[in-house]
């Protein structure tokens, strides 16, 4: 596998990438390192993992982090309701079975595999997406380090489980908290920013194929300029795509002031942003080169 294969594989799944992104993915895979992706919201950080899983035809296992996430939800848990039921049932039956009760009680049958355990027990290396790592507590982070370096999990009742295959790990973060040096040291770092005009246009055209070319160009230009404005919440690619889809569905072929004003809520999600943008709309439209009909 080389750089170009990775690139074309990602492209074939509809993920428009640049050299930097594909190089990062390529190196993370060849060097067997986790890939830590940071960047503003809505630039397609999570999408990379999804696309990778599709491109390499393997499973995507996702661990969504949140405050208070613990090992019960990340690794494994015993299904104690079922265990209780099993005990009750076995009380009534005369057990001629020589198999001791306990080893039955703590067998695979009652083990609820959570994402991390699932990831290491796959035959074919899956893509393990650890989403929004910065939302989890620091304790969880250091605990995760252990698994990321050893690739084995110990369950007291069963023993140590070695990874059958080493997953491709993608960790994403929104920088709500600085991740620790120790974690960074074990990862390759990838920063994804808002895309340039050409890239964004290509994405729009790919994801919303029914869109009019002129409209696509105008929307992309508008978004590019809009991101330079002072906003509380800068719209990402997801917003561009939403807007494009909406306008394309209504069969518009160009932007005008009224249209933008009435659909601003699709791209801006903050009251003040909408207000400010409405006030400076004419200026913005001039920059974009959209001529108003009035």
């Amino acid at each position: 596998m080389n750089l170009d294969t990775i690139k074309s594989l990602l492209q074939s799944q509809g993920y428009i990438t640049d050299e930097y992104v594909s190089m990062s993915v390529f190196l993370a895979m060849t060097l067997n390192k986790a890939l830590l992706i940071e960047g503003p919201a809505g630039v397609g950080k999570t999408e990379i993992a999804k696309v990778m899983a599709k491109a390499f035809d393997t499973n995507l296992i996702r661990l969504q982090c949140y405050e208070g996430l613990d090992s019960n939800h990340a690794i494994y848990e015993w299904n104690y309701q079922q265990q209780l039921l099993f005990l009750k049932m076995s009380e009534n039956q005369q057990l001629s079975n020589t198999n001791p009760l306990e080893s039955q009680l703590f067998s695979d049958k009652f083990l609820l595999k959570r994402p991390l355990l699932q990831a290491i027990s796959q035959e074919k290396a899956p893509v393990l997406l650890i989403d929004e790592m910065d939302r989890a507590d620091e304790e969880f982070e250091s605990f995760l380090l252990e698994i990321l370096s050893d690739w084995q999990i110990t369950i007291p009742e069963i023993g140590t489980i070695q990874a059958k295959s080493i997953p491709y790990v993608i960790i994403t973060g929104n920088r709500t908290r600085e991740l620790s040096e120790a974690l960074r040291r074990r990862c390759l770092y990838l920063w994804i920013d808002y895309p340039e005009f050409d890239k964004e246009l290509e994405i729009v055209k790919q994801k919303v194929p029914q869109i009019d070319t002129q409209l696509a160009v105008q929307i992309t230009k508008f978004m590019q300029h809009l991101r330079h404005e002072k906003l509380n919440k800068v719209p990402g690619i997801a917003e561009t795509l939403d807007w494009s889809t909406a306008l394309a569905a209504m069969h518009f072929d160009h932007l005008d002031k009224e249209l933008i004003e009435s659909t601003l809520g699709v791209i801006l999600k903050d009251w003040q942003d909408i207000r400010n943008t409405q006030l400076s709309l004419s200026e913005l439209m001039e920059k974009v080169g959209v001529t108003s009909r009035f």
């Binding site: 080389n2 750089l3 050299e19 930097y20 190089m23 990062s24 390529f26 190196l27 060849t30 060097l31 390192k33 940071e38 405050e67 208070g68 015993w78 104690y80 265990q83 209780l84 005990l87 306990e102 009680l105 620091e138 007291p156 009742e157 929104n174 920088r175 709500t176 908290r177 600085e178 040096e181 960074r184 040291r185 990862c187 390759l188 770092y189 990838l190 920063w191 509380n232």
Partner: protein, 379 residues
């Protein structure tokens, strides 16, 4: 792992060293990763650059600096200048600069004493400043690095107060609390079906996230050393804290303060911060904070700004950034050591626009007032 030393591997090693000088964390592991990576790619200039750019930076700041460093290094190689000479030159330049910096960062003893006495004429004030016996007896002017342990003790007391309000989440506890049925069943089933031990849980306290932003410009010189010390001590006992200093631009120093020895930490901080004891631009610095770190702020955060409010920048920017920050945090606290003077009026333009936006405004010029403020840091 890598048997043959070729010219390129020597260069990578030299480049890694150069990066370390520039503040990158480059482990030997990463150097070998870089060399391994190069064996996997098509040997073009672009690929070479991209691969190194993927391997070496470990955070956003690194990534931003990387291009310039890369260009500089390889250009110098092209010019036939030995990288070692370049490094040596830079180091010697640093050494030349350092004594000056050191001089500036160490506040004059008299002025420090003045500050510690709270800019008040009478010394009787001091006797009442604390009910901590050992500190009470201690001559406050002798409050140096070595007394950090004492300060830490005090801050520890304070820090405990920062986590008081119960949250909706639970955490296991040994004593008290309510029965944790889930854990009780889970743990006891390990040993069979009898329930032998009970486990309890109690509500987890809501922990405040603190952001300390300290002005280290020229006008704050006599206070800044103490406040950096304060931040250092605070960081040691309280983990949910991010620390920044600014003069003309903002710099995060949380990692630099993670030293076991304060002197080393201070040296690290003053060498990484540009314009230590230089001019002030509060507006730009706060704007930088509001833009870059707003993701980290939430309703449990408190931002604590330590500055005298004297600057050359535009007050509108201060106002705007404070408003942006205020929207996201629980509280903004501003400590202005000048406010300890009797008859102080917030007449600096920056202070005037900032005041209506602050939740707490205080002097924080001695331990008593500082303590008072910190006790107010509750969400």
């Amino acid at each position: 792992m890598l048997q043959r030393e070729t010219e390129i591997s020597a260069h990578i090693v030299a480049f890694s060293r150069y990066l370390r000088v520039k503040g990158f964390m480059v482990s030997p592991m990463r150097e070998s990763d870089a060399l391994l990576a190069l064996t996997h790619i098509e040997p073009t200039k672009q690929n070479f650059y991209l691969a190194l750019r993927c391997i070496f930076p470990q955070n956003f700041k690194n990534l931003r600096d990387f291009d310039a460093i890369f260009d500089k290094y390889w250009k110098e190689i092209e010019n036939g200048v030995d990288a070692k000479i370049a490094m040596a030159e830079e180091e010697s330049a640093k050494k030349k600069k350092k004594p000056v910096e050191k001089k500036q960062s160490a506040p004059a003893f008299e002025s420090l004493k003045n500050w510690l006495y709270g800019n008040k004429d009478k010394e009787e004030e001091l006797a009442a400043y604390s009910n901590n016996v050992s500190l009470e007896k201690k001559d406050f002017s002798a409050f140096t690095d070595d007394d950090l342990a004492e300060a830490e003790k005090l801050i520890k007391l304070i820090a405990r107060r920062l986590a008081q309000k119960p949250s909706r989440r639970f955490e296991p506890t040994r004593r008290g609390g309510v029965l944790d049925l889930r854990r009780t069943l889970q743990k006891n089933f390990r040993n069979g079906e009898e329930i032998l031990f009970l486990h309890h849980k109690k509500a987890k306290p809501t922990r405040v996230k603190l952001f300390l932003i300290c002005d280290v410009s020229k006008s704050m010189e006599i206070y800044s050393r103490f406040f950096v010390q304060f931040m250092y001590a605070f960081k040691k006992v309280y983990h949910r804290i991010e620390t920044y200093v600014f003069s003309t631009s903002l710099q995060r120093i949380s990692d630099e303060l993670n030293e076991s020895d304060f002197r080393t930490a201070l040296r690290k901080v003053s060498s990484t911060v540009p314009h230590w004891a230089g001019g002030t631009d509060i507006g730009q610095s706060l704007r930088r904070f509001a833009e870059n770190d707003c993701q980290q702020l939430d309703s449990k955060s408190i931002v604590l700004i330590i500055s005298d409010g004297l600057d050359m920048g535009k007050p509108e920017i201060v106002e705007e950034s404070l408003k942006a920050i205020k929207k996201r945090v629980n509280k903004i606290v501003w400590l202005n050591p000048l406010a300890g003077h009797t008859g102080y009026k917030p007449e600096a333009r920056t202070m005037k626009v900032a005041l209506p936006l602050l939740d707490v405004f205080s002097s924080g010029h001695n331990f008593e007032t500082l303590k008072e403020v910190i006790l107010k840091l509750k969400v």
